[in-house]
Structures are given as structure tokens and as C-alpha cells.
Symmetry: C2
Subunit: 302 residues, 2 copies
């Protein structure tokens, strides 16, 4: 792959900001992890990283920011580039782009962390040459991005796939859900903190044979059913900390095929579901490479 | 609006095939309704309509077919242009395009009826200048199409929004649902036939104050919640026979705003929801004009 112009990338996450500068996914010149503390401190360290990078490697042609959200993506809005209604303490209504805009003349690409990761998976990872696909991450939160014909989808704001409403049978699962906005939406039922609250132990401590995983796969399969019915994605890439439990993928795939019940006749939803619901090709690098993809797209160069 | 090349259009529905020839939405030269009987008889009448149209008006530059489904939209598939797993008697595995291809040299555009209608609403109707939006029809079946940046979305097959899974509290609504594939999916709970089965009377006979409509709006609002979380559409256009009950729109809008619970901060999901969930701008013509849009796009002309 040819190297492009020098770009900066920030994966803005709830626990860390991962920064990088480079010319492509295999040509990163510097990276740094900044812990997510206060907005002012965190963003100052990001600016500092890019200042040092420019000193060492030259002017940045563009910067990409892939942020946790919800964020304001409407360029006409006075809050464009802000994190809006996050429950994360101190971060609601934070102008993420402001300090970067003030410090660097480079154009800045901005989108959600999951839209960025989806873009990176489509360009360099598990969804190459797939015309329309979804990236879903299941961890502290649940989020998803959709890419259609090479660009993330956002008409009104941006997708919030973690907040899908799914069937919840309170007779077999009386757990109320943890989402402060929706109670038993997908994130309320199936995020890492929801699992911990339901079972009284962190998700990563639950062994593969624990009934938690079948229930987790059940809810995730229902969510995938809804993504398939809405977008008909050509592939679904699933990442995030909760998905590191190896037992989950086979359970989710079977659950999705069972739930669709051959209404949509395609091998992807029956015999070939192993190649339809897949882990990220870029692993944990999907986030920062997503920010890099946003930066590259902002340069307007191919 | 300038007129384009002469195009043929077929809205292939479960009760009628609506055929038209024309140069644009305001320039239809001939139209005909063909009742949906057997595939052979119905398609022969469609071919005959276009033969007469060519005799009277000249060669068709393209034909568009917007069909009930599920359909095979994969051009590489031997079943491209077929209706596949429909429960409609006699129509499963029907080659809809075959008779048209055999009779006319014109290129043929093909998509689902709802993707076609969505395309037409985006071009000439209620979703003009909206970058990403959804068209949902609620009638004998429930179906939806999504348009992103001017073209329908279909990665794997095509959306099947009627078969979304939504929360269903069997304590307050013990109705099992009518979908032969999924039981209580959206279509199983909220289509016209589902309403008739639940209440023992046709939907159109139920007065506006009947509790049927609040329950109907509840399920449709949950479905819209999921569409918003997945696609973040810039607008949602709702048509179909069930939606002709005027009491529904206000109930659905309020239900959507309540369900989202201000997690996504935008006027469209609170104070301006009246302009976010809207009826079709093209009324019942959305279907055949969708087929016309597919034909126009197939000519490759602007």
C-alpha cells in the first residue's frame, strides 16, 4: 500500500485517548496513550503529542478524531465537534475539536469511534470489498457504525446501535437493565457493566460454560437480527472487550440464524454464518486506524 | 422539471401490478392496473402493456421494476430478478424479470417495492434533500427501504424492516403474532392482518378511539426507535393502508420521542418530531414512481 500524506489520529475513548501520527495503517511514526482524565488535561496532552509529532516529522496534512459519544456531527451546528449527552462525569458538552482547531491549521475529520472503526475495518480489515456493513463493539458500552459505499452513515445524528430495543422476557430474565435512559435496551441488558450487575461478577471472570454467555449471545443475536432487517449489511464485524470471550461468536451466529429462521434465503444467514459475523481484522487497532481513515478522507486525496 | 427519456415502470404488488410509461413523475403517458393473479398471466399482461406503449409512444429507454419480496437483487445470482420466499400462493421462486427481458431489449432496473418508493420520495416527495432516510409502509405487510446518498441500501440482500424484533409484553398483550417465520416480529404484531386477527375486525373498521391504535402506535414507535438507533435517518416517511388512520401519526411521534427519552439530543426527536415522522409526499403514487426512478437510474442519464 502506498503511503499518503502525514496525518494525525486520535481515538477518543472513555478510558484512554490513543494518538498516532503516520502515513497509513502500516506506517505509523509515533503513538501514545493518554489516560482520559478531565477534558482540559486530556485534550492538552493530545495537542502536546501532535506538537511534538510536527516538530519531529513535519506538518500534519490532516487530523482525524474518532470519539466516544453521543457527538454532534452537524457541521452547521454551534456544537459541531462536541461530545453531547454522555453520562461520563465531566465530559457532557465537551468541545473535543476546539483545542485541536486552535492549535493546528490542518483540516480535522470527526466522527464517532465506531464509525471510525467501521471505516478502518472496511478499508484495511475484516470488511474489505463489502459494500455495506456494520461494526459493533460490545464492552463498557455497546456501539455500532455502519458504512455504506465507503462512508459512514449518519443522516440525523449518528447511529446508536447500543440503544436498540430488543425483546426481553422478564419471566426468564427479571434483570431490569442498566441504561439510565432506556433501562433494558441492548446496552442496558448486554454491556459489560450490565453483565457484571446481573451476575455479580465482572464479565471477564465468568467461565465459558457460565449461563451468562448463552443469555448474552441471545440478546446480541436479537440485535444482529434487527441490524440485518434494517440495513441488510454484507458483513457484521463484532469487537470490544466482552467479545473476547471465545464462546460468544458460535452462540451468536447460531442465535442469529435461528432467529432469522431462513426468512432471508442466503448462506450468510445459515451455512456460511461463520464468515458473516466475524471479529475485527484490525483487532484493538481498529479505533485509532479509524481516526487515521477519517484524517485521510479529510485530505481529499485518494 | 425537465423530461427525460421514455421509461417503463412496474410496481409489482401482491394485489395489483401498477404499470406506467413516461418521462418523469409529472409526465406519465399511460398507466394501467393489472390484478395480481398467476405469475404467467400477470406478467403477460405487463408485457402486453409495454408493447402497446412502445407502439404508441416509441422505444422504451429503460424499464424499472419495484417488486414485493423477498427478491434476489444479487446480479451474479442465477435467481437475480426472482421473487424468492414469499408466502403468497403461486409466487415463490417467480422470475419477475424473465418475461420482460425476453420481450424488451431495454435495460431493466430492479429493486424492492419499498426501496423504489423510498427512492421516489427522496427525489420527488417528502424526503427531498435528506441525505439518509427511511420509507416504511404498514399495510398487508410491513416493509421498509433506506436511501443513503441517493441510492437504496442493500448489502447482503435487502432490508426487511417488517421483520424487526421489538419488545412484546405478553402480560399486557398476549397475542402471539401472525408472522409464519417469526411469530411476534413487527409484522406479526402490527400489520393489517395482525390487527384484524387480534381485534377480530379489519383495521379500517376500528374507530380512532379504539385501544387498537394506541397499541399499534406503541409497536411502530418501538420499530422507529430501532431504525433511528441503527441508521440515524434524517427523516422517516410512513405510508401504507394502516397509516391512513389519522390518529396514528401523533401517537407514533409521541411514542418515538418518549422511547428515545432525549438520549439523542435533537429537535427531530422531541419538539420537531412532527416534521421528522411524516406521510409520503407522493401518496399512493410512491410505488409506481419508485419503479420509474429505478428505470431512470438505469439509463445512466442525470
Amino acid at each position: 500500500m502506498n503511503s499518503g500524506p502525514l496525518c494525525g489520529a486520535v481515538e477518543a475513548g472513555g478510558t484512554k485517548f490513543v494518538c498516532a501520527v503516520g502515513r497509513g495503517p502500516d506506517d505509523l511514526l509515533a503513538t501514545e496513550r493518554v489516560p482520559t482524565t478531565s477534558p482540559a488535561e486530556t485534550l492538552a496532552r493530545v495537542v502536546q503529542f501532535f506538537r511534538h509529532a510536527e516538530r519531529d516529522h513535519g506538518r500534519l496534512a490532516a487530523i482525524g478524531v474518532a470519539s466516544f459519544g453521543p457527538v454532534d456531527l452537524c457541521r452547521a451546528s454551534p456544537r459541531y465537534g462536541h461530545i453531547t449527552s454522555t453520562p461520563k462525569p465531566g465530559w457532557a458538552d465537551t468541545d473535543v475539536l476546539g483545542p485541536l482547531r486552535a492549535a493546528f491549521p490542518a483540516p480535522i475529520g470527526f466522527d464517532t469511534d465506531v464509525n471510525g472503526a467501521a471505516l478502518a475495518e472496511g478499508r484495511w480489515g475484516a470488511a474489505r470489498e463489502v459494500d455495506a456493513f456494520v461494526y459493533l463493539t460490545v464492552g463498557t458500552g455497546i456501539g455500532g457504525g455502519a458504512v455504506v459505499r465507503g462512508a459512514p452513515v449518519h443522516g440525523l445524528v449518528h447511529p446508536e446501535m447500543g440503544h436498540l430495543r430488543v425483546p426481553h422476557d422478564r419471566r426468564s430474565d427479571p434483570f431490569e437493565g442498566t441504561c439510565p435512559f432506556h433501562g433494558d435496551c441492548l446496552e442496558g441488558l448486554a454491556s459489560g457493566p450490565a453483565m457484571a450487575a446481573r451476575w455479580g461478577a465482572p464479565a471477564e471472570s465468568l467461565p465459558a460454560e457460565h449461563p451468562a454467555w448463552a443469555l448474552e449471545a441471545h440478546y446480541l443475536a436479537l440485535a444482529l437480527h434487527n441490524l440485518v432487517c434494517t440495513l441488510s449489511p454484507g458483513r457484521i464485524v463484532m469487537g470490544g472487550g466482552v467479545m473476547s470471550q471465545a464462546a460468544l461468536f458460535p452462540l451468536i451466529r447460531r442465535g442469529l440464524a435461528d432467529s432469522m429462521n431462513r426468512y432471508v434465503q442466503t448462506a450468510a444467514l445459515s451455512t456460511a454464518v461463520d464468515r458473516y459475523v466475524v471479529p475485527p481484522g484490525l483487532g484493538v487497532r481498529a479505533g485509532v486506524l479509524g481516526a487515521l481513515a477519517l484524517a485521510i478522507d479529510t485530505t481529499g486525496l485518494p
